[in-house]
């Protein structure tokens, strides 16, 4: 072969490689930052670090890039609707059906750091960089439920996690937990927080809100540091866990009564135990099941996986998830989510706890990966109590 032909071939090869690289770059995506699963479990919407918004068909195992300019924290499926919500980098919020039909669009004055919308698409709630909470009505007017506070998101490197029940009566917010205060007068009540900063500016801890009344009804204390909390679909339970390994739950009818979740090896910490710190008698391990290796109590997120009955707790730097049943402190079962590809639960990525999403009605769990743009999807079986990985895109 002549020297000329060789050179041409080489050039062609290089061009092909470059073209493939460009094509790959165009179609691949950064790690998932936020995710949401449709109530029927058929779709997931994900927003990625490179601003792509992807709709995943979980039945047909297909994906479609909806936008390349999406707010990375804006992927959200509206409850009981085949409609997802997202925000563009131009701050326009769009409610869009899975078949592409735009059902609602409006412009916000700021990027959202977590949001949701009522099923009738009339009322929109969102958080901002300063962990404010705002309510936008159908007429476009906005009111502040919780005042924004500087750049709290950067401070904790975590979103103010928001969740709402199916009846759209209750909301839970969770930012940074407030461990038990000192004895009075040091302890901060809801009123004290309000006195410290207007419009509950400093309400970082887990809080239960009455959406209709547009104000918090209970400050749910006991967590520490970066805290995730979520509300059961029926609005009966709030479950929380945090960076310090504290897991708690409350019945929303008795928000003053805090219950502790069991750790995986030590059991339930007894708050009122008369013994000194470190005494084994401070722990009740009577209901513990045999632990699996790789369980970590430092928690990234929790998510309901079967209606309001079962939920999963995801540990930091762990590929294990613990199954809990509402109303009980004891773990029911441990699931190995798979070591490869590494999940978003690795690397203390509390700011990406929104990359873990479920449909409690369909028993579907979708999770992002640690450093690549893929997704892992799991199916929960409430009868067999199994969690099977049904689809992995690396």
């Amino acid at each position: 072969m002549s020297k000329f032909n060789l050179r041409t071939l080489l050039l062609l090869g290089l061009m092909l490689a470059a073209g493939y690289g460009l094509w790959q770059g165009y179609h691949s995506s950064g790690p998932i930052m936020s995710a949401s699963v449709s109530e029927n479990g058929a779709f997931a919407i994900t927003a990625h670090k490179d601003q792509k918004l992807i709709l995943w068909d979980l039945k047909k195992h297909r994906r479609k890039i909806i936008s390349r300019n999406a707010n990375i924290y804006s992927a959200y499926f509206i409850k009981q609707q085949p409609t997802f919500l997202w925000q563009g980098l131009d701050n326009v919020v769009t409610a869009q059906s899975v078949n592409g039909e735009v059902q609602k669009a409006f412009e916000l004055d700021k990027p959202t750091y977590g949001h949701f919308m009522t099923q009738d698409l009339n009322t929109y709630y969102y958080s901002d960089i300063g962990w404010g909470i705002f309510r936008r009505s159908e007429d476009g007017s906005t009111e502040t439920l919780k005042a924004t506070d500087g750049r709290a998101f950067f401070g904790y490197h975590k979103l103010l996690n928001l969740s709402m029940d199916d009846s759209e009566q209750l909301m839970v917010s969770a930012g940074s937990g407030e461990p038990k205060g000192f004895e009075p007068p040091y302890y901060r009540s809801l009123q004290d927080v309000l006195d410290q900063g207007a419009e509950y500016r400093y309400l970082y801890s887990v809080a239960l809100w009455n959406i209709e009344a547009r104000k918090p009804t209970a400050k749910l204390d006991g967590n520490s540091s970066k805290t995730h909390a979520t509300l059961s679909p029926d609005g009966q339970w709030v479950v929380s866990a945090d960076e310090a390994g504290i897991g708690l739950f409350w019945n929303t009818n008795q928000p003053d009564m805090k219950h502790r979740l069991s750790s995986y090896h030590s059991g339930v910490y007894l708050d009122d135990s008369p013994y000194e710190t470190g005494d084994l008698r401070n722990w009740d391990d009577s209901g513990l099941i045999e632990a699996s290796a790789g369980l970590h109590t430092f928690t990234i997120a929790l998510a309901f996986i079967h209606n309001s009955e079962y939920y999963l707790r995801f540990g930091n730097n762990s590929h294990m998830a613990a199954l809990f049943k509402t109303g009980s402190p004891w773990p029911v079962k441990y699931f190995d989510l798979g070591e490869s590809p590494k999940l978003v639960t690795y690397g203390s990525q509390y700011s990406r706890n929104t990359a873990i999403a479920t449909s409690p009605e369909a028993g579907i769990l979708a999770m992002g990966h640690q450093s690549t743009g893929g997704i892992s999807v799991y199916q929960f079986d409430p009868d067999q109590l199994t969690l099977e990985r049904i689809w992995v895109v690396e």
Partner: protein
Amino acid sequence: MTPASNLPFSPSSAPLGAHGAPICAHETANVRLQRSDNLRRPKAFINAGTIKDESGHVATVALQDGTEHTPDNAEAIFTQLVTGNARWHWPEEPEGEHLIGFDTVSEQRRFAPGHYLDEGVDLTVIQGERKARVIHLPPPVIISLREPAPASGDLLTDEQLDYFRENGNNALIYIHGYNVSHGEWGRFLNRQDSQKHYGGHGPGPRTAWHPNKATVWQDTEALSEFTASPLEDDDVNGTGAHSWAIHMEYQLNRAAGFDGKDWMPYSRIINISWPGDTGSTDFMQAELNAMTSGRRLAPLLLQLADAGIAINLISHSLGARVALTALNIVGTIGRSNLVDHLFLWQPAVADNALTNNNSRDVHPLGLGVFPSAHSAARKIVVLHSRGDGILGPENADDRAWWQKALHHIQPLAMTAWTLAKADAPMDEILGKLHGAYNKKWWCFPSFLDNGFGPAIEKLYKDYLPLTFEAGKTAHPQRSAYVPEAVKKTVQANWDRLEKDILAEADALWQPCIDCLRNGERPPDYTLLAPLNHRASVSLQIAKDYVFRLKKLAVNGWFPEQSPRPALGYVGFDEVANEEATAFDKFIFESLNDGKFIPANQSKWLFIHSGMKTPTQELFEEIYQREIMQNRLLANSKFGRY
């Protein structure tokens, strides 16, 4: 002269006299100055300075003899001043009591410290008497634990105690870290006499300073506008512990709401200066010094607590060992919840240092944990960062690199020596050693004085040799024939040392307990200095210590175990992991209880000493949010904020 005026002179603005007479009539009047601090408490004049009146006459004043802070002593009356414009110059005595306010009936003026020094304070002498209140900052508080001092020298004076009592009834104590010299205060720039460079024709460039010590933070960059070349921060904001004091106090005030202009709410903190500057890598000696200092700090905590003053503690780096020693001691004597919050900022102590269980200690001499420290604080906030290049990284790759280096000591030593000599901030030098903290027990290169050998041999210099290879302790592998005479000498030295150590333990056991119960400074252990973090050392503990020491000596002062990773780097990740071998139930429980609070700063703090001149992000998120807003202002107090 106003720009609109065409006159070649400036007309007098002085009021006319009682009968409409101009000032040439030399009508005279008095100026009565009342001195107070920013709590509006009377402060005695030591030197009331001078007033230069409109005629050019410079008046001084004869003061009362008393130095007590009574209203009479706090008053200075200047007489025979010509009415009209005048200037008051005050020499800032006592030192550090900067002028921040000048209030008359009609006007409240506020100054940044030092700003009036150039021109003095202008005032108008009115007929009859001009009354004014001159307001000063209280002096800074530095407790130096560097030199031997009587026990009272480690405590606050009655005056200082009163200040903290009246300034919100709380005190914040800051303890600096490793390798910080005592240093000195900064200075105030004399802007009038400083000159920029004006090309070839003007006066030569000159930087002039006022003789007064500056004990508060100043914006070096902004001041450099007045000088020919950029100013050094050390000149303006001091050096060593003084510089840390200035920076931390200012940032904490700012975080609490101080606007940088009105200094009236500005609160002084208590700064602890301790001898952690033992050379770039003599970490063990610095640890011993930290414990001796912590022992001296304990009575100060008791003094504040007994006065009913709320205490909050912030320590940086190895300052954590000073703080934890003091708390361990007061915790041992049953003074629980003495301190509201202990903030351990980038603590250079083991990640299990807060356990209550001595058996968890992996330190070969038993100084790694502080089993009673937890009980002396209501809450302990651990600010840690994986971005800290001094305290980490604790990863296998890094260790492997250093382990490989063991076989190539010479090239490594050369690199380390070059770094140590480099004209660069200490953080940078230590940072280049890829996590200096993790090498703190290493015994090479010996000329860098790291590891156990140098500090122990200094401590027991009267008992050497304690090994068969004195002077070559860094190389235990060089075994060779040891003459019988040397063996006998070593054995005799050990016998003598053991006897003296046990005697010291026996002699100080009860005095330590008695002193602490009375809130007095306990005696220091000398031979048992590595156990100075204990309130007292029983005979049994002393015997155990000797056993550990011998074991270490047999191994050429080389420990069998690696140190635990630094708490300031890993936080509680390992000790609170139920499946880890290092799992500590007590720490796990204290986290569950909300007593220990981790605050991960990995996203903002990338430099070990980054909090001294914080980025806006670090300032907002740690100073403002984590320390002030969420903790001190919510659950405790800081000054009068």
